[in-house]
């Protein structure tokens, strides 16, 4: 009624000032609760930094056991070679073979290396012999990597012992690792962890925003105010968007300086994409907040319901293209799956917008869709 009398010109500023005053109110709510604020600021930054250091698939100082039935020069030389690499630590050698199973069961070792009797003699007389690598395959990743590393060391040693004469033709593969020559964990895991942490934190921040008002009864007050649903939703999201932006800056600063992971592409583009992603996730949180009745339900949905799927379906732990088709479809509705690709492309590969426009469009579509659903659902509750 009031708006109509103000005419079409006054309408927009009126809404804008309404929105601003509501944003101010929400901000005050967020800022007043110092403890929560500290958690919201510190947590994502600490997590990204911590996981950036910790996550890696490198093999180093992995404990192995050597069963040397031969105890001759050749086997000793090879064992020395393996000891000299920083990949493996030989915790014991020359045990009887029966000790291997016990060592595995106690979890002391990850692999065993078995030299046959007459190791050197066989090599001298037949020109060949065999070493057995036994790996603890309860962790397949590690078992595979250990197998690859040990094979490489042994083959290398074998080649150095008997130069080209044995092979009339030699094809030498020369491998170059692009983008990440030292095969560090960080270039893969930091974008993944960023996507995962930002998504879960953003969703959890807004997931309780509206349902808390419902639970406390303050929702009624909000509903009788002249605020439109869209504006209420916006005013709930904006303080958290700003907060997330500050977190994002801290994360990027730390990953550049502490994790030694420079931003190869455009910083501005990365920031813009990140804000889009955070907006999508905040809207998802608000959606959860609108469809649930209690804070606890909202928290259960956003934490128990989303944590493991986000870790496993973002694509940085398990490549999405290797998943069964139905699961690929499910992965596609996880926003962090798209943001992970965007961060990897811009930050690590240094790609521009033309490389990530598809992912951007998907995220924007998700945000728009969720926002519309939120406004619609919100109206139903008004009626």
């Amino acid at each position: 009624m009031m708006h109509a009398s103000m005419g079409t010109q006054g309408k927009r500023p009126a809404h804008l000032s309404q929105l601003l005053s509501f944003v101010r109110k929400e901000f005050r709510h967020v800022l007043r609760d110092r403890k929560t604020l500290l958690i919201l600021f510190g947590m994502p930054v600490v997590q990204v930094l911590l996981f950036g250091f910790v996550l890696s698939n490198e093999v180093k100082n992995t404990q192995i056991i050597v069963v040397d039935h031969a105890k001759d020069q050749a086997s000793q030389a090879l064992i020395e070679k393996i000891k000299a690499s920083h990949y493996f630590t030989v915790v014991a050698d020359t045990v009887p073979q029966s000790g291997v199973a016990a060592a595995f069961r106690q979890g002391k070792i990850k692999a065993a290396l078995v030299f046959p009797v007459n190791f050197q003699n066989d090599l001298l007389h037949d020109g060949r012999n065999t070493v057995q690598v036994i790996a603890d395959a309860t962790d397949i990743n590690l078992a595979n990597t250990i197998g690859n590393y040990l094979t490489a060391i042994i083959t290398d040693y074998s080649r150095s012992q008997q130069p080209a004469l044995a092979m009339p033709y030699v094809i030498l593969p020369e491998i170059r690792m692009l983008y990440n020559p030292e095969l560090r964990g960080a270039p893969n895991f930091v974008p993944g962890v960023m996507a995962m942490v930002l998504m879960l934190v953003s969703v959890m921040m807004t997931a309780v925003a509206i349902v808390r008002e419902k639970e406390m009864g303050t929702m009624e007050v909000l509903l009788v105010s002249p605020m439109r649903p869209a504006l209420i939703i916006l005013s709930k999201a904006i303080p958290y968007l700003i907060l997330s932006f500050i977190n994002l800056l801290a994360i990027l600063l730390l990953s550049t300086t502490v994790l030694d992971l420079p931003i190869s592409g455009s910083l501005l583009l990365l920031l813009a994409e990140s804000m889009l992603f955070i907006t999508t996730c905040l809207t998802l949180g608000i959606f959860i907040s609108i469809v649930t009745d209690t804070q606890q339900t909202a928290m259960f949905v956003s934490l128990i319901g989303m944590m493991l799927p986000t870790i496993m379906l973002s694509g940085f732990m398990f490549p999405i293209e290797d998943m069964p088709y139905p699961l690929q479809v499910v992965a596609n509705i996880v926003p962090s799956r798209w943001y992970y690709v965007i961060v990897k492309d811009i930050m690590i590969k240094g790609a521009g917008f033309s490389a990530v426009w598809r992912e951007t469009a998907v995220l924007a579509g998700m945000a728009a869709f969720l926002f519309i659903v939120c406004v619609k659902k919100f109206k139903i509750r008004l009626a």
Binding site: K35, K60, G127, D136, L142, T155, V170, E174, V208
Partner: protein, 369 residues
């Protein structure tokens, strides 16, 4: 004792009254437990390969056929130049580039040694090193076969390596993952339920009412913990049954041992939840704190990346990570058939954590109430 049983009745009634919470704390984890292991697939069979064949000889074609015929690689494109192939890597269409130099076949005959160039997208170090290793071994076996063709008398020479995978001979990735996922879900549910419950009483003010009754702290806390302890054990049992029904995993070791360990473990985790709740004023804070720690527990738990690969200080930190102990013990008992003596160090660590966390929580609870 009767006070405790009355409290237990109250807690159970509250838990069963809220059907939504009950459904989420059972259905969501079980669904995830059924579906998510399917995501884990490291049998890499879809490595996208771009080939730059400058030679276009019989030999180079044979080698490419051998590689694409191996089943690990998918030929995306033959490109005329390296830079075109590199563009494919940049746009994520190719993971690997194989470049065969000009005059490869001819020079191999003449000079005996020829290099081929492989470039790998190494952002995902795991996939890159596996892809590189596969390609290496295929080229080596191709090399051996052309040597045999040229000199049928030449026998393979040098030190051969045979690999054996113990405890999981089919190298089934899911086998190692499933016990870990079950451990994670039990931890998340136990920790979150116990942390949120007491904070909710604080937030809604009902804790004041309990504080003025003659209910002893001990009974109050036990009344909170026992229902969640039972719930978490039910989830754990459902998980064990499902891992047998769906994936055929039969615990190699003693099931009793597994339950005894989980019983103590849950006391530690519920104590942790209780501790968090004593420090928090709102449910939101408790949720964020639990999220923070559970995330640290799982990512530093040795499930997705090995603990051995972490920096030294982080390996020390994992000693204080209860989930790391549970994941290790689950793998040891379920897959390797480890005995009580084998898992004793983990058992002692968890028992110590259970005592410390609960004592700390109770002490802190007294102070604040």
């Amino acid at each position: 004792m009767s006070v405790l049983s009355v409290l237990l009745k109250k807690e159970f009634r509250q838990i069963f009254r809220n059907k939504t919470i009950l459904a989420i704390s059972f259905v969501a984890p079980i669904m995830q437990f059924i579906v998510l292991p399917l995501a884990a697939n490291y049998e890499i069979t879809n490595i996208n390969l771009a080939v730059v064949d400058h030679d276009r000889s019989d030999l180079s074609r044979q080698m490419i056929d051998r590689i694409t015929g191996s089943g690990y690689f998918r030929l995306v494109d033959y490109t005329a130049s390296y830079s075109q192939a590199y563009a494919l890597v940049e746009s994520d269409k190719a993971d690997l580039i194989l470049q065969i130099p000009n005059g490869f076949e001819e020079k191999l005959q003449r000079e005996k040694v020829q290099k081929v160039f492989i470039a790998v997208n190494a952002i995902n170090g795991m996939k890159a090193s596996m892809g590189g290793a596969y390609l290496n071994s295929i080229i080596a076996s191709f090399n051996r076969s052309i040597v045999l063709e040229a000199m049928p008398t030449a026998a393979p020479s040098g030190i051969m390596v045979t690999s054996t995978a113990w405890f999981n001979p089919d190298m089934n990735y899911k086998l190692g993952l499933i016990p870990g996922i079950l451990a994670f879900l039990v931890t998340l549910i136990g920790g979150l339920l116990s942390a949120l419950n007491i904070v909710r009483e604080k937030e809604s003010g009902t804790i004041e009412q309990i504080n003025v009754t003659p209910i002893r702290k001990r009974d109050f806390i036990l009344g909170k913990m026992i229902p969640f302890w039972i719930l978490a054990n039910v989830v754990f049992t459902i998980g064990l049954v499902l891992s047998y029904l769906l994936y055929g995993i039969v615990p190699q070791g003693s099931i009793l041992l597994l339950y005894v360990f989980v019983a103590v473990y849950l006391v530690a985790i519920l104590g942790f939840g209780l501790l968090v709740s004593t420090y928090c004023a709102t449910q939101q804070q408790a949720m964020f704190i639990i999220f923070f720690f559970v995330m640290v527990f799982i990512l530093m738990g040795g499930l997705f990346t090995p603990i051995d690969s972490m920096p030294g200080w982080a390996q020390v930190v994992t000693q204080f990570n209860p989930l790391a102990h549970l994941i290790e013990v689950m793998r040891m008992v379920m897959l390797k058939g480890s005995s009580l003596m084998d898992i004793l160090p983990h058992f002692l660590a968890i028992a110590a954590m259970a005592v410390v966390l609960n004592v700390w929580a109770v002490l802190n609870y007294r102070k604040t109430s």
